[in-house]
Amino acid sequence: MTLAIGDEAPDFTLPDTSGDDHSLPRDEVAAVVFTCNHCPYALAWHDRIVDAARDYPDVRFFAINPNDAERYPNDSFEAMRERVERDGGWPLPYLHDESQEVARGYGARTTPHVFVVDADGRVRYAGAPDSDHRDPGQRAAWLREALDSVRAGRDPEPAETEPVGCSVKWKR
C-alpha cells in the first residue's frame, strides 16, 4: 500500500550508478522519484524532474529504479550506468533498488511515482510530477508546488495525485 500523507518515509541506503551509497536525509527536504529506463512515461517526465533537481539545490533528489531487470533488461544496473554516462551525468543520483524493498516500503505503484519528504521525514506529497506527460510546459508543476509549500511550511495543494505510468515490475 502506498504511504499516506503524514506517514514516516522509510529510510534507505542504495547504490548509485558509480557504486556510492545514498541515504534518505533526516534534516533536509527530499524528493524521492521511482523511475526507470524502459517506461515511456518515465522518459517523458525525466527532463522535467532533472530540471526541478537543478532548480532546487537545497532539496535532496533521488531517482530510484526498482524494476525487475531479469524481465526488463533495459532496467539493469549496467543499463542505468550507461544511460547516466550517455547523458553526461545527472544532477540527482540514480539508485538501484535491486531487492525492491524500498519500492515496497513506499508502496511505489508506477514509474514515475514521486514522493516529497519533509525535513522531519514525513511524506508531504505523493503522486505524479504534474498533470500531463505530453506537455513539457507543465514543468513538473505538482512536484514544484509541493517543494515550494514544504519549504515554506505550508501543506502542498494538491498533497496527493494519481500516479501515472508503467506499473513497477515486481519480481515473480
Binding site: C39, L43, A44, V164, G165, C166, S167
Partner: protein, 114 residues
C-alpha cells in the same frame, strides 16, 4: 484498408492512443469502427503477434513507426518518439495521420494499376 490496434492492459497508454487514432480516422473521412482491436495478454501471444509493446498500430500489416531492431516481443509499454524528438507512450498523431494517408494512397495506386 486494414487497421489493427494491439494493446496490453498493463500499460495505461492505450485509451489515449486509440482516441488519437480514431480522431485521425474521422478527420480523414474513415470509419473508426473498422479498427481491429486486439488485447495481448501473454508473452507467448506477444511473440506470436510480433508485438513490440503497447500500443502497436499496424495499417495493412505495416507498423506506423518501425520498432527498433533487436527489441524483444513482450508485454511492455512501447516508447515512441514525437516529431520534436521527445519520448512518448503514444505515437505522434501526425505520424498516425501520415501512415493512414500512405496506406490510402497505396490502395488507390494499386486500383489504378489494375
Amino acid at each position: 484498408m486494414r487497421i489493427e490496434f494491439l494493446w496490453w492492459e498493463g500499460c495505461p497508454s492505450h485509451p489515449e492512443a486509440l482516441a488519437d487514432l480514431e480522431s485521425v480516422l474521422r478527420a480523414e473521412g474513415l470509419d473508426p469502427g473498422t479498427v481491429e482491436r486486439r488485447e495481448v495478454t501473454t508473452d507467448a501471444q506477444a511473440v506470436h503477434e510480433r508485438f513490440p509493446g503497447s500500443p502497436t498500430i499496424r495499417i495493412d500489416g505495416e507498423d506506423i513507426q518501425s520498432a527498433p531492431n533487436g527489441e524483444p516481443f513482450s508485454l511492455t509499454c512501447r516508447v515512441y518518439r514525437l516529431r520534436d524528438g521527445r519520448p512518448s507512450p503514444v505515437p505522434d498523431p501526425d505520424d498516425v495521420r501520415d501512415a493512414v494517408r500512405r496506406a490510402r494512397d497505396a490502395v488507390r495506386q494499386a486500383k489504378e494499376e489494375r
